[in-house]
Every structure is written in structure tokens, then in C-alpha cells.
């Protein structure tokens, strides 16, 4: 127990260090962008409307003051950490003066909802079918599934999503093509709203699962086909241990363990959003917010989103490190 406490302590330190370095690097990079948020605001005013050069110059000055950009980088960095301590990322520069946290708060439930469900579903489906395919390597149906997976896995996600979109909104228009829920609905815990959210999430989640299942399938099948030749499986099958028990407790159980790490990482990575999914299906979420923020040089918003992502991924690594010795008896905490 004592060694476990020391182990956890070390991991906490490592977690803090990684978060700190990761966010600092991102801070530096986002401030290196050649895009000027003030120029973007100015362009928004001058692109279509009537404007005289004199007034544009005046506008530029007043915006620079208002946004507080162009200060000392070091000071900005210190202010950033002070704010982060209270989870305040300051005002967005591309939706001034709305706080970054408000923008993120609006987008993130969609991202979490869609990606958690599709990540976990693809993990289960991929691993279970992959495990069976690895164990019953001569089963014809599983072999065919394996071939489909092998063919589907390398298809670029954009193509998969796009083909699904065309298939179910154009060729056979039975599913909505855009949005998180039906237009003119008011979000709430009503059956109608939830039904609409589910209907709108079918295509995005299906596309993610279709692509996600492939890599879990391939990984699990490879793991299982290795484990099947391991001595303890051979021994148990020689001992006539019933097949169901053999597959579940001997083969799958052992193969699942490394996959849990993968699952945790994928769930941590959720907070990066799914840019292409959101783009193709017009689904609300944090990925698009991030792309737009990068485009508009809204570094407050970029940093807000990436900080959350960094913390989430580090936390996933951390939690897995902490939990793994408890779920896998082989891992000794001293290592």
C-alpha cells in the first residue's frame, strides 16, 4: 500500500508537469500566429461596408486597446495562468466580449455526447468482434467481417462520412443532413427533443463507429491470435475448460487489458473535437469552434479549448496509470 502511495505521488507530479509544459508550449505557439485578431475585426467592418481609410486607422487603434493585445508576451503568459487557476480563459477575441468559457460550455456537451457514445460503442463492438475473429480464426462469417474491416479501416474518414451523407440525405433522403436537433425546437428534457437529438446523431455517430471499429477490431484480433497460442490458453483448453469460459475469462479478459489504455486515451482525446464530423454533418461541437478560433487568431479561445484537451488527455493517461495496477494483477506498482 505504501509503495502504491509513492507510485501515485510520482504520477501526480508527472501529470502536473506534463500539463504545465503542454499548455505552455501551446501558449507560445498560438501567440506565434501571423494572424492579427484586430485585423480580422477590422476586415469584418470594411469588407462589405463603406469605409474611409482615416476611420479604419482610428478603428484599429481603439480595437487594439479594447482587446488588450500586443502587450508584453510574458505578462500575458502570467495573466493566463492566473486566470486558468479559476478556469477563466478571458474574453474571446472573435466574439468579444463573450467569455471563452461560455463559448466552450455551449459547444462541449454536443462533443462529449456524440464522441463518448461513439467511442465506447466502437470500442465494445470492435473488441468483441475482433476478439471472436481472433479466436475463431477459421469462422467464415468472421473472416468476411475481417476482410470488410481490413478494407474499411484505411478509407479516409472524410470519404466515409461524405459517402454516408450522400447516401442517406441525397440518394435516399431519410436522415437529417445538418445540425444537432430540429430547427425551431427548444432544448429541454422532452421526449420530442431527445428523439430529435438521437435522430440527428445517427449519421455522425454511425460514421465514427464505422471507422472507429476498424482499428479496435484489428488490434484486438491481433492480440487475441497471440493470446490463443499462449500456454495458459492451451493448457485450459487441454483441460477441457468450457469454451465460453475459455473465451471470456482466459482470452478476452487478457486481451482487453491493453485495450483499456487505448480507450482511456481515446476518451481523453474527445476534447479535441471531431473536426471533419462536425464539418460534414454540420454537427455542433468543439472541433469547429477550434478551427474557427485558429482562423480568427482568437488565441484566448484556442488556448481555452486546447488547455481542456491537454488536461483531459493527461488526466486519461494519469487515471490509467493509477488504475492499471488495480485491474491488471501483473503490473507491479514499483516499475
Amino acid at each position: 500500500m505504501r509503495s502504491y502511495v509513492i507510485y501515485v505521488g510520482k504520477r501526480v507530479l508527472q501529470f502536473a508537469l506534463v500539463v504545465f509544459v503542454g499548455i505552455s508550449i501551446t501558449f507560445l505557439i498560438t501567440h506565434l500566429t501571423p494572424i492579427d485578431p484586430v485585423e480580422h475585426a477590422v476586415a469584418q467592418v470594411s469588407t462589405f461596408g463603406f469605409s474611409s481609410p482615416e476611420s479604419i486607422e482610428l478603428l484599429r487603434q481603439s480595437l487594439r486597446e479594447l482587446y488588450g493585445v500586443g502587450d508584453n508576451l510574458w505578462e500575458e503568459y502570467l495573466v493566463f495562468w492566473q486566470r486558468l487557476a479559476t478556469l477563466d480563459f478571458g474574453p474571446s477575441l472573435s466574439a468579444f466580449p463573450t467569455p471563452v468559457s461560455e463559448l466552450i460550455g455551449r459547444a462541449i456537451p454536443w462533443t462529449i455526447g456524440l464522441l463518448t457514445v461513439s467511442t465506447i460503442l466502437s470500442w465494445f463492438i470492435g473488441n468483441i468482434i475482433g476478439g471472436l475473429a481472433g479466436y475463431y480464426s477459421r469462422n467464415r462469417v468472421l473472416r468476411i467481417i475481417g476482410m470488410i474491416m481490413m478494407g474499411l479501416h484505411p478509407v479516409p474518414y472524410y470519404i466515409v462520412a461524405f459517402v454516408l451523407l450522400i447516401a442517406f440525405t441525397f440518394v435516399l433522403p431519410i436522415l437529417p443532413s445538418s445540425g444537432g436537433y430540429e430547427m425551431n425546437m427548444t432544448p429541454g428534457w422532452t421526449l420530442k427533443f431527445i428523439g430529435s437529438v438521437l435522430l440527428h446523431s445517427i449519421l455522425p455517430s454511425f460514421s465514427l463507429i464505422l471507422v472507429g471499429v476498424g482499428s479496435w477490431f484489428m488490434g484486438m484480433r491481433a492480440l487475441v491470435s497471440n493470446i490463443v497460442t499462449d500456454d495458459y490458453v492451451t493448457y485450459a483448453s487441454l483441460a477441457g475448460v468450457p469454451e465460453r469460459r475459455l473465451v471470456t475469462s482466459y482470452v478476452m479478459r487478457n486481451a482487453f487489458l491493453p485495450q483499456i489504455t487505448g480507450l482511456a486515451m481515446s476518451i481523453g482525446a474527445i476534447f479535441n473535437g471531431a473536426v471533419i464530423t462536425e464539418q460534414v454533418f454540420g454537427y455542433p461541437g468543439i472541433g469547429r469552434l477550434l478551427v474557427e478560433a485558429v482562423h480568427a487568431a482568437d488565441y484566448s479561445l484556442v488556448l481555452g479549448i486546447t488547455s481542456i484537451a491537454i488536461i483531459a488527455v493527461s488526466a486519461a493517461v494519469f487515471i490509467i496509470d493509477i488504475i492499471y495496477p488495480l485491474i491488471d494483477p501483473r503490473v507491479q506498482v514499483t516499475q
Binding site: 494572424i35 479516409p156 464539418q279 477550434l290 478551427v291 485558429v294
Partner: protein, 286 residues
């Protein structure tokens, strides 16, 4: 070596099919050197012609022959994926091995660096680098950048395999029998590590090519160099899907997929050749 190749080709169906697919793919890539057209020139042939005897893969809305475009695209994309995978494999293997073997403080430092690379969000980083580097962000530079960012996860994997190998009994046996460490690594451990390197090589290529397509679709790559992503970019610019020019998407997708199937088959057959257990099963020396 030739005998090994001959045996693999004869006795290993995966190898034979994978090899033939890769020969076709590489043949197509090599054909780019004989292309009658410059890859970036447009409006050279009829527009929007479906696949036919004259244009096997059809032509696109930019008046380019898709077959010849594809030869360049496959060449560049393969080279891209290969460079990313190769460099990042070298990094992850080196760091994973050192970390796993040396352990202690070195391991902790390396893994902290490693974890930092894992958590830094890739996408905004790539887009910002694209903004900063602009024209200099050629596919080669992009490949270097992605190689620099794509090694961390697999280094962790290799490290964990190393740790488990280090504690295996045969390692101790070899140590006690006086084998030198490099020899233990190359003779005893490499057979366990190489299949991982091969399969992560594949996954890494898959990842980098997928990311290249993503960036291209969003317009953040050098669209003057034809790649698979670049072809999809231009097809989108011309709304090819709703205009019914499906062949503009279909052939690039088909060949990306075929490439991976080919590589996958090769890698599993190589694994079987390298992995002592399955080799024994196959060659029946027991």
C-alpha cells in the same frame, strides 16, 4: 534472402497477394515518371469524361486525366506516409528501447517528454505551423513535422514491451549465459519487437495519410503537389460528388485502400516470418 522471398511467396498467401498489390501500386507510382502531363497543369483533356478506353479512370472537372493525376498522387502520398512512418519509427524505437532498458531517471525524463508530445493537440498545431511556414509547408516539411509529432504513443508501447521482455525468464537465462546486451536485444528481443514496429508502421502511415486528407479537405496543405488529399480537395472545389463525377473520389479512395490492404498483408506475413512461434507453426520444425 532470395530463398526466403521465394518461400514466402510460395507458401504464404498473404505475402503473395500483398506483394502483388504493392507491385501494382508501386508500378502506378512509378508510371508518374512517364506522365505525358505536368501534374499541376489543368485543362489539358476533355472535362468530366467518365472512365473509358481512352481515359481509364476518367477525367476531372479541371481537364486532367485522373489516371495520370493518380500516379503522382500515389507517389507523393506513399512517399509522404513512408517518410513520416520511417522517421517516427526510428524515434519511437530509440526512445522506447532506451527508456525501457535503462529505466530509472532516464525513463522518467523520457516519458515526461513523451507524454507531453501525447497531450499536445496536433490539429491546431499543424494549422498554425501552416500559417507560419506558408509556402515552405511543402508535403516534405509536413512529413517531417508529422514524424516529429507522431512517435510518442508508439514509444510508450515499445517501452512497455521492453519492460516485459526485460523481466522474462529467457532474458535472465541469456544474461547468465554471458550473452552481451546488444546480442540479447537483436537475437532474443527483436523478434518480439519487430512485429510491433511493423504494425505501428502501418498504423502510423494510415494515420499520417488520413491526417493529410483531413488537412487537405480543410485546405491546409500544399494543393500544388498532387496527393490523395489534394485530389479530394480539388474534387470538393468542384462539388464533384453532387455533380456525379464519382470517379474523381472513387479511384483515389480505392488506391489508398488497396495500398493499405497490400501493406497490411505484407506486414502480417512478415510478422509470421519473424515471430518465432508462428514461424514454427508454419514451417513445422517442432
Amino acid at each position: 534472402m532470395i530463398a526466403v522471398f521465394r518461400d514466402l511467396f510460395r507458401y504464404n498467401g498473404e505475402f503473395a497477394i500483398g506483394f502483388m498489390i504493392m507491385v501494382i501500386i508501386l508500378g502506378i507510382a512509378a508510371a508518374s515518371f512517364f506522365s505525358p502531363y505536368e501534374p499541376i497543369d489543368s485543362y489539358l483533356v476533355a472535362m468530366d469524361a467518365p472512365p473509358s478506353a481512352e481515359y481509364v479512370f476518367g477525367t476531372n472537372s479541371r481537364g486532367q486525366d485522373i489516371f495520370w493525376q493518380l500516379t503522382f498522387a500515389i507517389r507523393n502520398t506513399l512517399a509522404f506516409g513512408f517518410i513520416v512512418a520511417l522517421i517516427s519509427r526510428i524515434l519511437s524505437l530509440a526512445i522506447g528501447l532506451v527508456s525501457g532498458y535503462v529505466g530509472g531517471a532516464v525513463d522518467r525524463v523520457l516519458m515526461s517528454i513523451n507524454d507531453t508530445f501525447i497531450v499536445i493537440p496536433l490539429f491546431p498545431l499543424l494549422v498554425l505551423l501552416y500559417f507560419v511556414l506558408r509556402d515552405d509547408m511543402t508535403w516534405f516539411v509536413l512529413a517531417l513535422v508529422m514524424a516529429g509529432l507522431g512517435w510518442a504513443y508508439d514509444a510508450r508501447l515499445i517501452r512497455s514491451v521492453m519492460i516485459s521482455l526485460r523481466t522474462r525468464e529467457f532474458t535472465n537465462t541469456s544474461v547468465f549465459s554471458g550473452m552481451s546486451m546488444p546480442r540479447i536485444v537483436t537475437q532474443e528481443h527483436l523478434p518480439y519487437v519487430l512485429p510491433i514496429v511493423f504494425s505501428t508502421f502501418m498504423n502510423n502511415m494510415n494515420w499520417s495519410i488520413g491526417l493529410e486528407v483531413t488537412l487537405a479537405v480543410l485546405g491546409f496543405t500544399d494543393v500544388d503537389t498532387p496527393t490523395i488529399g489534394g485530389m479530394i480537395f480539388w474534387a470538393n472545389q468542384h462539388s464533384a460528388m453532387v455533380s456525379g463525377i464519382w470517379w474523381w473520389y472513387f479511384f483515389p479512395t480505392l488506391f489508398v485502400t488497396l495500398t493499405f490492404i497490400g501493406l497490411f498483408l505484407l506486414s502480417i506475413s512478415m510478422n509470421e516470418y519473424i515471430d518465432p512461434r508462428s514461424r514454427l507453426d508454419r514451417m513445422g520444425n517442432s
